[in-house]
Subunit: 320 residues, 2 copies
């Protein structure tokens, strides 16, 4: 799967790897693991992200530094790789400009409908995570190059992108990969999951308390919603990143087939859609200029909140 | 590991398998998978449990029926097996009497300090779950006997006893086993986890909303508490079973080493204590005539609520 990718990318001397804006465990884990792989194989490598790294994933930076990209320095690189996204705009304003530099751009990702600007890419919608794909890159090239740091970085993405191995994207190969990472990395899962899930600021649980109180059922209980307002953020001293994982709660209500999280963000409303049925939330999100996967997608609405809820729920009913 | 167990147990014609009282996913999953294995290998088998099966695991009964044991019928069996517990009193009043019948009793379990009454047993404290041990029984005897029903039953125990593969008990072998179960059973994890975790009544999330608002930190943030009052139950139409898993929330706060859940129950206060450090909550609970394990214990306090909180926190500070 990675034959062409490997032979081409290792011909470059200096490569920059980008992960997407509003970074998560999968894009950061695959970025760090890929950078370590490039470095081990003689390529001078830098990692960039235009946003801040979530606090509970800060430990990844001890494995490989990730900095904000400066437009001026990008011309020093021979090639670029983007991970966990398949269109440059997902990687921020600076990354969008790399296509103008006339250097090859590579991509590894598991989202549908990739752009056609890439020199070489691995795009596998069936993969549980981009980290599973980077694992396959290591496995195909030389599995012995998986050290503790690379293993922990990839495990992070496997865990976070599969809801702790609970989604239907998890196949036997996903769990065999996770087992191999524990084995080669010499660690137990709690060393990752306690960092991710068991070190929450108290304020986040207070925000969750307020948010859970907003859960409502629609369409005869088949669709649920949860709402996070600017007031709630102010009242609890929280911000966007504290809402990580909240969307699973309305989805967990019995009988619910799909759910939407509405979050006031600046002048707009951020929508996060999730499905545990045949409802295709990617299609649903596209009605609001968004997209993603069949079971997880995002979009924006110009607001106000109640208008967003009404319009999005009406669009959702058409999907049932 | 199972050589003696297999050769002895398959010599019996009629075997009864018990799972422990207040049953969970691991005891029920291992019970059903073991019964299917005995049946496949020519042994007439019955499954017993003295309590009710949790609603979200009722689907297991379609794979193999589990009924309440009647003392009179037990003399019809040639042998007994207890799973996921290593002392007969864990299996209820009727099970406690099987030792008087003069028939061999077998045991498969992963808890420490087994009783010495068993004809043959497999007791592995290092195993993530009893289901992982039953998987090894199948693997050692004939892995092709793992069909969809046995695979799903064992997967249930693997998932529930490891907090969805997050605990330090998860080893590479655990994940390879889980992968093999997905493969042989022909299913994806969500087919199990949605039944277990994603079918909560909405009222339970409303109760969680109220409970999260009560989380407080004590002892410089090392101990946390969460409180559930009679009022909250009335306001949300919930009962004791709806608090399942709530104790994980105060424990997940950054810096917290141990936590206590206080629940008004009749005239008393039920205490649930959890630790993710060297704090031994078994010792702590014993000060209130309770007990359990080092990392999870329970006790009762005569109340009222505020007195309970004050006294229990003071006792906890002595443990630090």
């Amino acid at each position: 799967m990675f034959k062409n990718f490997i032979s081409k990318i290792l011909q470059h001397q200096k490569v920059a790897v980008f992960s997407h804006v509003r970074p998560d465990g999968d894009c950061l884990g695959s970025q760090v693991a890929l950078c370590l792989w490039l470095q081990k194989n003689g390529v001078e490598t830098s990692a960039f992200n235009e946003d801040s790294i979530p606090e509970n994933m800060g430990w990844l930076l001890d494995f490989f530094p990730i900095s904000k990209p400066m437009e001026a320095e990008l011309s020093n690189f021979d090639a670029f790789v983007v991970v966990d996204g398949n269109a440059l705009h997902r990687f921020g304003e600076t990354a969008e400009k790399i296509s103008e530099l006339g250097k090859p751009v590579y991509m590894i990702d598991h989202h549908p409908d990739p752009d056609d600007i890439f020199e070489e890419f691995v795009s596998e919608v069936e993969a549980s995570s981009t980290c599973e794909l980077v694992y396959r890159l290591y496995a195909e090239h030389d599995p012995k190059q998986i050290d503790e740091h690379a293993a922990k970085a990839m495990y992070l993405g496997l865990v976070t992108d599969t809801g702790s191995f609970q989604f239907d994207s998890v196949k036997p190969g996903t769990l065999h990969a996770a087992a191999d990472l524990l084995d080669r990395g010499g660690f137990t899962p709690n060393q990752i999951t306690e960092k991710i899930y068991s070190s929450r600021p108290l304020r986040q649980l207070k925000l969750l308390s307020l948010a859970l109180d907003t859960i409502e059922l629609h369409a005869g209980g088949k669709i649920s919603t949860i709402t996070i307002t600017r007031d709630m953020f102010e009242q609890t001293g929280t911000s966007n990143e504290d809402t990580e994982g909240f969307v699973q709660y309305p989805l967990s209500v019995e009988g619910v087939k799909a759910c939407v999280l509405f979050r006031e963000d600046g002048d707009r409303i951020k929508l996060s859609l999730r499905s545990q049925s045949d409802i295709d939330v990617n299609k649903w999100a596209r009605k609001f200029n968004g997209g993603g996967h069949k079971k997880a997608a995002g979009a924006w609405h110009s607001g106000p909140l109640q208008t967003a809820v009404d319009e999005v729920i009406n669009a959702g009913k058409e999907q049932l």
